[in-house]
């Protein structure tokens, strides 16, 4: 077998992703011109490698090429995450790379199992023979593939790498991570689910869990980038929910939300990157009142915050409207959506007020607006948010593939959706004020310690760290047990011989392992 790696813009889906990636990536490049000062050669080399990997996954005509480019992207992004080589960046990068390799292995095994069934890796052939394949094995393969993609996306409960990797990476890289890298898993998911036309109950559950967990964990964060990372988990929950519903409205909404989340989350990360660039502060308690000193950053951040909260006329509203409509009156799902939207509103209200409003701390008096390339990226992204929000229908029909009748004639500005939005906003305001009042938000008075311990149990990070520590302890134990003595070594040899003879003599070995 020689590698049948092949690349081609297969269809409208990859075309859509391609436009998104190239547009947003060029903005990251422009932003990096001003932001990155050290190790330029290494930074741009791995950035271009990451671009290569991302474009490769999108243009892959077959599953193996998809996997190969995915791994390429993983390695490049690892070196981007650890780019500023601080002490804390290595554990985060380590977690990222190991989890990504695990996800990649799941995808690889699924790909090879499909190859063994069909004799090819090509998506087009899968689509043709999908109905002839045995249902049982398809289910297994899809389950493996979905787990792999969920790890890449960073959905709950595989999200632990995400809040560690984002804050530690340079800001353009965090924007890249949240904007594009986690979208690749979603792209693979859509591609495969579309081929096998299986709706997935599992994805709905994972989506809802991610939404709620993400926003609940985001509420208490005080590190600004960590907060955004948790909010990314929650927003990817929307995408997964849309895909899990599996109607044309749901998948269309999910895809649209991929685009919108990429733009506004990138905008938010780049804004906070500008704040970090100008002030060298990442903690909420040291920030405040920057609105006057950095007006462009503050204005664009405000647009991003409104968009992520799903407030019209910004793009977040449009895609959330599609997903809400896709739930088709399922009360539980709708409640979850409204709670998440309310929580998101509260989170970003807190973030905006704490960073750009209020009193300017003394040490930040000399802060200035960031250089022109950074402002340029911010303004362009804010413009996209506004334009897509004002004209969601044309954008949807032009760019988002897989449009069905329900999508073509979708009424964005209908009364029911606006009522839902208003409800969510007021709920969000209520959460914010109660939160501040009772010290639940991690800002203001230092109350709510017990809440934070509760939340640290809620995030499954402890579990993963525990597993890692357990493995290391076991390995150390193994190392201690193995004695370095010649007598022991010789004993091993004779024991091996005796065991081998015993195994062969007994008919035990005829049982297949």
């Amino acid at each position: 077998m020689i590698f049948p790696t092949s690349f081609w813009p297969v269809d409208s889906l990859s075309f859509f992703m391609l436009i998104m990636v190239t547009m947003l990536f060029s903005l990251v490049f422009v932003y990096s011109l001003a932001y990155v000062k050290r190790n330029l050669f290494r930074y741009y080399f791995v950035l271009l490698m990451a671009l290569l990997g991302i474009l490769g996954t999108i243009l892959a005509k077959d599953l193996l090429s998809f996997y190969i480019c995915l791994e390429l992207m993983t390695v490049a992004v690892y070196f981007l995450i650890v780019d500023n080589t601080k002490k804390e960046s290595f554990p985060a990068g380590f977690k990222y790379v190991i989890m990504m390799f695990a996800g990649g292995l799941f995808i690889l095994v699924a790909a090879l199992m499909l190859y063994n069934l069909t004799g090819t890796f090509e998506f087009a052939v899968f689509a043709r023979v999908a109905h002839t394949l045995p249902a049982e094995s398809i289910k297994l393969i899809l389950a493996l593939f979905v787990i792999g993609c969920l790890i890449e996306i960073g959905a709950v409960p595989f999200h632990v790498w995400l809040p560690d990797a984002h804050p530690i990476a340079p800001s353009p890289v965090s924007a890249l991570l949240s904007g594009l890298v986690i979208k690749i898993g979603a792209y693979g998911l859509i591609r495969m689910l579309f081929i096998f036309k299986l709706g997935m109950q599992l994805l709905i559950w994972v989506g809802v869990l991610s939404m709620i967990f993400g926003v609940v964990l985001a509420i208490r964060q005080t590190n600004i980038k960590r907060l955004l990372a948790y909010s990314s988990i929650s927003q990817m929950g929307y995408v997964l929910l849309g895909m899990g519903i599996g109607t044309s409205l749901g998948i269309g909404g999910g895809l649209f939300h991929i685009l919108n989340h990429a733009t506004f989350k990138m905008l938010l990360f780049l804004c906070l990157g500008a704040v970090i660039y100008a002030t060298r502060e990442r903690e909420l308690k040291n920030l405040g009142g920057l609105g006057k000193r950095m007006p462009i950053t503050a204005a664009t951040f405000c647009i991003g915050a409104l968009a992520i909260s799903g407030i019209p006329p910004f793009n977040g509203f449009a895609s959330k409207a599609l997903i809400v409509s896709a739930t088709a009156g399922n009360l539980w799902l709708k409640t979850a959506l409204i709670i998440t939207a309310a929580g998101t509103t509260a989170v970003f209200l807190k973030l905006f007020l704490q960073v750009f409003w209020g009193e300017l701390p003394a040490q930040l008096k000399k802060t200035n607006e960031v250089p022109a390339p950074m402002c340029f990226s911010l303004l362009i992204l804010a413009g996209i948010c506004l334009v897509v929000g004002l004209f969601p229908g044309p954008v949807l029909n032009k760019f988002v593939p897989l449009t069905g009748i329900a999508l073509l004639h979708f009424e964005f500005w209908n009364f029911k959706l606006l009522v839902d939005t208003t409800m969510a906003v007021f709920l969000g305001l209520a959460i914010y004020f109660f939160g501040v009042r009772f010290g639940l938000l991690g800002v203001g008075e230092g109350r709510g310690k017990e809440n934070s311990t509760l939340l640290s149990y809620l995030s499954v990070d402890k579990f993963y760290c525990g597993v890692a520590a357990l493995i290391e302890a076991l390995c150390n134990m193994l190392k201690k047990v193995m004695r370095r003595s010649l007598n022991v070594y010789l004993l091993w040899i004779f024991m091996a011989l005796v065991i081998l003879l015993f195994v062969l003599w007994c008919p035990l070995w005829k049982i297949t392992i």
Binding site: F3, T85, N116, Y489, A496, L501
Partner: protein
């Protein structure tokens, strides 16, 4: 060329003695020149056989003109050719690496040539007792090579190596004696023909022979309970010798296992499920060694354990015994020889530059040696099996072969092994990129590291990338070998 097999072995062997005679000439660095030229000549002779061997022919040579059942015969077929190419390539790079350092005298090159020519002998011989003799030659030469530096720790390590290998070679001798008494011949082809009959009459004796051979080849290739000499010897040997041990000597054990098991027991034991035993040993080696590699402190010891885990990977492919499994195993043998030798050389350069042996001391290597760090990263990514590097291709074949058996337990173990390997390599990589200022060991004078060392390391990384992008280069070599193993 009918005389090729004997020339391939005897030219380096002759050179081993010629290196000592260079003492009486005025040529500067004569020993090195003799060694390199002999090696190139031997490679040239091998290349003359390429066309007919790749076409599926077999080149036979009877020593002293005695026909097969009586005399010793040497033979170049697809499998031997594949391994011989590997040995030529890695051997040449090892020689070039050791050129750069003025640490090594004539004695070193002489011993190295003896070791290399005995490896070629093992690969080409068709006589089972001759195989034993070459193995002993290799053991003695490598024993002296490991302890080349004459430090107490190296002497202890190589003494352990010697005792352990000799203990198991007694087993091999015993199995040869049993086979000789049963068949009356030492020629592999003659024995292979008679084994099915013996198995019919008395399966137990075949089991005994199999177990004895498994133990004796297992110790050469570093199977789990017999691996114990590897970390000791690898970490104490001089760097070119570590490369030789990991790159070639482990592979020779695998060669003997492949050759003899598939020739002797291919029709009897292996078709009756003994492959599962090999798979079992492979899995245990994989998991155990990658777990041990994760917690090692010294970098060379970590690389040695990682070698064992890769051998486990290969053994799984060997035990599967399918076309795809063997293809993956052979490919991984080739890849691992390149990757691990390259990694040992990288580690060797870093150690000789900094004076540090331990991983946690190697901070800030990136600032000091960026090229070397990138090479190390590339090679370790290849060892983990990340595309588009060569380790990925062989990993792919093995996983696919296991999946065809629908055995999900093995898949899980492979998963675990690969992730642990990734963890242990990234532990080193992140140390290299760590921010702390690079500093030498107290009152340590770095050894001069010349262009030859760097050239070799870059060559290894380049080969890994090349094979990863064009796997057909090696697959074309593997196809004739597969035809020999699975006729």
């Amino acid at each position: 060329m009918i005389n090729a097999p004997i020339l391939i072995i005897s030219i380096p062997l002759l050179a081993a003695f010629l290196t000592h005679l260079t003492k009486y000439t005025k040529v500067k660095r004569g020993a090195e020149l003799v060694a390199i030229f002999a090696w190139l000549a031997s490679a040239f002779v091998l290349s003359t056989t390429a066309r007919s061997v790749l076409a599926g022919q077999v080149i036979k040579y009877n020593l002293g003109g005695w026909p097969a059942p009586f005399g010793i015969s040497l033979q170049v077929d697809g499998l031997s050719f594949f391994f011989a190419v590997l040995v030529m390539l890695v051997g040449l790079l090892i020689l070039i690496y050791s050129l750069g350092i003025y640490l090594y005298a004539r004695r070193f090159y002489s011993l190295l040539m003896i070791a290399l020519s005995s490896i070629l002998g093992i690969i080409l011989t068709r006589d089972i007792f001759n195989l034993y003799v070459f193995f002993e030659m290799l053991a003695v030469a490598s024993y002296v090579l490991i302890t080349y530096k004459h430090k107490p720790r190296t002497i202890i390590a190589s003494f352990k190596y010697l005792v352990m290998t000799e203990a198991t070679w007694v087993f091999f001798l015993l199995s040869i004696a049993i086979l000789y008494s049963l068949t009356g011949s030492l020629n592999m082809d003659v024995i292979a023909v008679q084994i099915p009959g013996i198995y019919q009459a008395n399966p137990q004796i075949v089991y005994v022979v199999f177990s004895l051979m498994m133990i004796s080849f297992g110790i050469k290739c570093g199977m789990f309970p017999l691996h114990t000499w590897i970390p000791e010897a690898h970490s104490q040997a001089p760097t070119p010798v570590s490369g030789l041990l990991s790159g070639l000597i482990l592979k020779v054990g695998l060669y003997a296992m492949l050759r003899i098991f598939y020739l002797f027991f291919g029709a009897t034991l292996l078709t009756h499920g003994v492959g599962n035993v090999i798979i079992f040993f492979g899995i245990v080696s994989l998991i155990f060694a990658s777990a041990m590699a994760l917690v090692q402190i010294e970098i060379k010891r970590m690389l040695a354990y990682s070698s064992i885990s890769q051998i486990g990977f290969i053994l799984i492919g060997v035990g599967l015994g399918t076309q795809l499994g063997l293809q993956g195993a052979l490919f991984h043998i080739f890849n691992h020889a390149l990757i691990k030798t390259g990694l040992f050389f990288c580690a060797g350069i870093i150690i000789s530059q900094t004076g540090f042996w331990k991983i946690h001391q190697m901070k800030g290597v990136w600032q000091q040696m960026p090229g070397l760090t990138i090479t190390f990263c590339l090679l370790s990514l290849a060892a983990i099996g990340i595309p588009p590097l060569n380790g990925f291709v062989s990993k792919l074949f093995v996983i696919q072969a296991v999946l065809l058996k629908h055995n999900y337990l093995i898949i899980f173990c492979l998963f675990l092994g690969i992730l642990l390997t990734a963890a242990c390599y990234f532990r080193v990589i992140q140390m290299f990129f760590s921010p702390e200022e690079f500093h030498h060991k107290h009152d340590f004078r770095p050894n001069p590291v010349g262009h030859f060392e760097h050239l070799t390391v870059y060559a290894f990384a380049f080969l890994c990338l090349l094979i990863g992008i064009f796997p057909a280069l090696v697959i074309n070599l593997i196809q004739p070998a597969l035809k020999v193993l699975l006729p």
